[in-house]
Amino acid sequence: MAKPLKIVIAGEGGQGVQAVAEILAEAAYEEGRQALYIPNFGVEQRGGVSVAFLQIGDRPIGAPKFEKGDIVIALSRRAIYRTRQYVGPNTIFVYDASAEVPPEDLPREAKKIVGIPAIEITKRELHPRVFNVMIMGAVIGVTGVVSPEDAKKAIEMRLGYKFAKDPKLRELNYRAMERGMELAGAAV
């Protein structure tokens, strides 16, 4: 019986990593799969790096937290330092290329380390608002953990009311997701 896929997504407060994890979890849930998602939380309301722990599988999931992730995504300089501990020999480590981190500070023992210019691209091609959706695309691209269709459904569920007001927004989100998938595909 296959173990669940373990995902860690970490970033700065504003980057919306929790939303990514939640949408993915809901997408999986909609697919009738098992999903367990828990955010990190502590005494600081802001300022700490925001980390999302997500597991998706086909049978009830054991413990809510885990030692090493199958895929770990760090979206800021501080996030890279914060998430190194979750990277093991079987981990694919994805980070945002814009973060200036001396190479020796990147996790060593990862299975694969990919820097993607996500921030860069959203700024240039899309809109900072959809940064996290692009990241979600990247996760799907790397893992195929949920189908793009279900992911879109999940996005729809969440932002449908906004899309209703401004359909262009839907477009933007979908583009962001697809762009993220490409990026990841290319990288891995």
Partner: protein, 361 residues
């Protein structure tokens, strides 16, 4: 505006704190009294949103002492009242709970354990076991359910109200910050539609009629003048408690019949234990799994059965031997070796359990 209460079955994906709020609603809880503390805050947040729609009550108190004592007031007025707390709040909650114990008051308390001692962490632990089972200056005349999944969080929160009102002992649902904050799928339902009987509450005070005229006054005390008076009352309570302990106790087990080593854990840690055991058994390792669902009373008979068969027990918990302490008491006289895997305040993964098991067998 009163919304239709929960009807039918509903598959949902939500946080444990939200689950508790829905469960209390499903159990027909009348009123919640509470004081904020992480990681249980969202129980209040969801309840304050649900309550007005189903005209249930809520009061935010000035501290946990007040939360506990107002809950006692609600119960004595004949309502299904509950509160929720954690960590340092649970420490304070022991004062009202000692009164509930002394006066047989069916209060329901949801506990989301966090790291201790003191403020510790707002996150997670299993370090409130001793306090929840035996806290205060009494003899632990309480019922404590330790849940492991969101489904159980719903089921046992509903059940807790029945247990409390049927036996009149303070009843705790002991969960933790992980359970409170994580999201996973479960089915919520209307227990009555499932044919479950909900034990109705009864007023201690404010019953119909004029006291001394139509009926004797309802008068309740917790203070006695001489040692013997207290001894008599207490002995009767203890008899009651021991009489029902057997029917209240619950457990979960897997492969304990043929296992040489049995992993014992409770609450969320039991998930890791069970998963590890399942995988190891699939690989032919002769290991079993036992989980007390009630920490107070313990499922002593079942435990002793396990102790009789197994060679070794591996006790796994996110505390420094609080579950182990209960087990050693319950299994006194047995010689099965008890091995520790204690991680006070931190989570335990299936991998850790598996590794430890491999080291042992």
């Amino acid at each position: 505006m009163t919304e239709a209460p929960l009807t039918g079955e509903k598959r949902v994906f939500m946080t444990g704190n939200e689950v508790v709020a829905w469960a209390a609603l499903a159990a027909q809880a009348d009123i919640m009294y509470g004081y904020p503390i992480t990681p249980q805050n969202e129980i209040m947040h969801y309840w304050t949103r649900l309550a007005p729609k189903h005209n249930r009550g809520f009061l935010q108190t000035e501290d946990e002492l007040s939360a506990g004592f107002t809950t006692i007031g609600g119960v004595m007025a004949g309502k299904k009242a509950f509160t929720a707390t954690a960590g340092p709040g649970n420490v304070l909650m022991q004062e009202p709970m000692s009164m509930a114990e002394a006066m047989r008051l069916p209060v329901v308390v949801i506990v989301m354990q966090r790291g201790g001692p003191s403020t510790g962490t707002v996150i997670y632990s299993q370090q409130e076991v001793m306090m929840t089972a035996f806290g205060g200056n009494g003899e632990g005349l309480r019922v404590v359910y330790s849940t492991a999944t969101h489904q159980e969080l719903f089921d046992y929160t509903v059940k807790a109200f029945n247990t409390a009102w049927r036996y009149r002992f303070p009843t705790f649902v002991l969960a933790d910050g992980y359970q409170g904050k994580m999201r996973e799928p479960l089915t919520i339902y209307n227990p009555v539609e499932r044919g479950m009987e909900l034990v109705p509450p009864e007023p201690y005070v404010g019953r119909p009629g004029t006291p001394g005229v139509d009926r004797p006054p309802g008068q309740f005390r917790n203070t006695y003048n001489v040692e013997e008076e207290l001894y008599e009352v207490l002995s009767a309570y203890i008899r009651d408690w021991e009489q029902v302990a057997g029917e209240i106790a619950e457990h979960d087990a897997l492969g304990v019949e043929d296992a040489r080593l049995v992993v014992v854990a409770h609450g969320v840690v039991a998930r890791a234990a069970k998963q590890a055991v399942e995988e190891l058994r699939a690989q032919g390792v002769p290991v079993g799994y036992f989980r007390p669902i009630t920490l107070r009373p313990l499922p002593t008979a079942a435990l002793q059965e396990v102790a009789r068969r197994a060679e070794k027990l591996l006790v796994v918990e996110s505390a420094y031997g609080q579950l182990a302490r209960l087990l050693r008491e319950a299994l006194y006289g047995f010689t099965v070796e008890m091995l520790p895997l204690f991680k006070p305040g931190v989570g335990v993964t299936p991998e850790e359990v598996a590794t430890r098991v491999r080291e042992i067998v």
